[in-house]
Amino acid sequence: MTSSTETDPVETKRVIDAVDLVKFYPINRGILFKKQVGTVHAVDGVTLWLNEGETLAIVGESGCGKSTVGRLLLGLEPPTSGTIDILGDDITTMSQKALRHKRRDIQIILQDPYTSLNPRMTVRSIIGEPFDIHPDALHGRDEKTAVLELMDRVGLDPEFINRYPHQFSGGQRQRIGVARALALNPSVIVADEPVSALDVSVQAQVMNLLLELRDEFGLSYVFISHDLAVVRQIADRIAVMYLGKIVETGPQADIYAAPAHPYTKALMSAAPIPDPEKQKLRHRIELEGDVPSPADPPTGCRFRTRCWKAESVCAEVEPPLVEITSGHLAACHFPETT
């Protein structure tokens, strides 16, 4: 594992510092007497950090563990092992009560606008709930005022304050979710596929909102997504995950210009570009086979079963994350050069 202070200037404050995160889920059989028959290696040794004001994108396809990492960072699930420092405090050793208070520092925006809001609560109740739980976050204002302020900030008509989620479009619901996440004035927001379920014309609106809010409130983002094009617009650093591990990480410009890990390269070549001429000129890498099951990951390098470069060493030795260029790391025995 790499040293986590390697490439950062000393003054930059870290808002998240997660080391060696592991999350295994047991697979149980039986109704009355459960017996564990296997383990899902959802997250298998992930180290990452987030600097103040920075946006770290975690990229990967389904089953890679990126959403699980998000939930771990929020303390919604305890890691099987590893530590997570949020603004200097280790949340893995906190009491429930302390953790509840810590929630004010890190919040979440979820993917599905249709299930992330309680259908039986009005907008006012949904955005107001953070204040019900943490009344001191009101700072003297009354709740309705606070809710209206937030609605205004995310571009929702104040007239709609008593409406129910089903009366809104997907994009508007997502805005409600953003308002809810902002209520407690967090330092970090984990956004789990925030625009993936939205219409094309609305995606840009919500992305722009996130960018504006970042500038206005000095937020730090962990942006989880499978969409490399979206990520490119907002990320400062990127971590690519595959089957529970980070296979490549580095500054945004480096990763897009010169992806070093074959998987990253394949991902990029598969991402569509809406330009028929450009598409024709692209060389697409087609990956063979299916993604292996996280309950039974391949030995050595997990990507080897689909990698065109795989050799015997790949099955025997798991490649560590090594530096390719400053700040740009990849876990591969035969990283791409250019």
């Binding site: 094309v200 840009a204 722009n208 969409d227 094009a229 617009q233 897009y256 598969a270 299916d290």
Partner: protein, 331 residues
Amino acid sequence: MSDTLLAVDELKVEFHTRDGSARAVDGVSFTVERGETLAILGESGSGKSVTAQAIMGILDTPPAEITGGSVKLRGRELIGLEESEYRKVRGKQIAMIFQDALSALNPVISVGEQISEMFRIHEGLSKSDAKTATIDVLKRVKIPGADVRYGNYPHEFSGGMRQRIMIAMMIALKPAVLIADEPTTALDVTVQAQIMDLLSALKEETQMGLILITHDLGVVADVAQKVMVMYSGRTFEQGPINEIYTHTANPYTRGLLESIPKLDERIGRLPAIKGLPPSLFNRPKGCLFNPRCPQATDQCRDGEPDLVFVQPDHGSRCWFAQEVFASDIKH
């Protein structure tokens, strides 16, 4: 024999709900020729899926109602066909694949059985002949170990595999036209590419007509020849894909293209189309896009434009189609 496999003319579909009647599809026309791929692009509420379902004759009527237009498959009118007749056409002459293979496949019957059944029912093949034909078509869609996996059930396959199986089932009888409704939306990007390639290859092989319905402008970029952009039940632009993507004549299409994040460029804040797609019950007067259009004028608010052809095969529904076309120099 004409090369036009499917000809849709002024198709109109209405939905009757308690909030009133909504025109989900309001006069849509297009053709699909042999060996051609047409992409129907649109966001939610555009009517693209309803169009497909109307063509297939699988709309729930009520609340839906086809209120006008014609759909001719190889010259034969489909609208108004008796259900028993339609059933003979579906699967054999025109087929449809969906976003979610799991909902199209019966979970308690093996995949081989499901496909064989189609052969037995529509082509009267014997059990063993049907099985051979099934394994054949499974091989065509590149299911590894097709003869062994014949007896597997849908849940035993990955998402991408299931999509292939659904494709296999639908092309088994060699339909003239295949409609794919958001076939890759639920799949990972690396699998998306595989499926799109497969569809393209199958189309080339059989010279069938392929209609791709999607909201994702990127996914069809190297597969489609023709594009039709729908908005709120209407055709807003149609023409060859190269034209539409790089030389559009419609502000909506342009707005969409500009608002899509590009993989090869970091722009940050993208120019977004303001506002929301209109509710089908409260459509704006005049051009349907005018409340959101950066170039809207009084003319746009007063009356709805017809389709204007800036090129013989490139049409755009905009009062300023020519101007937009002229100004949209390839960037």
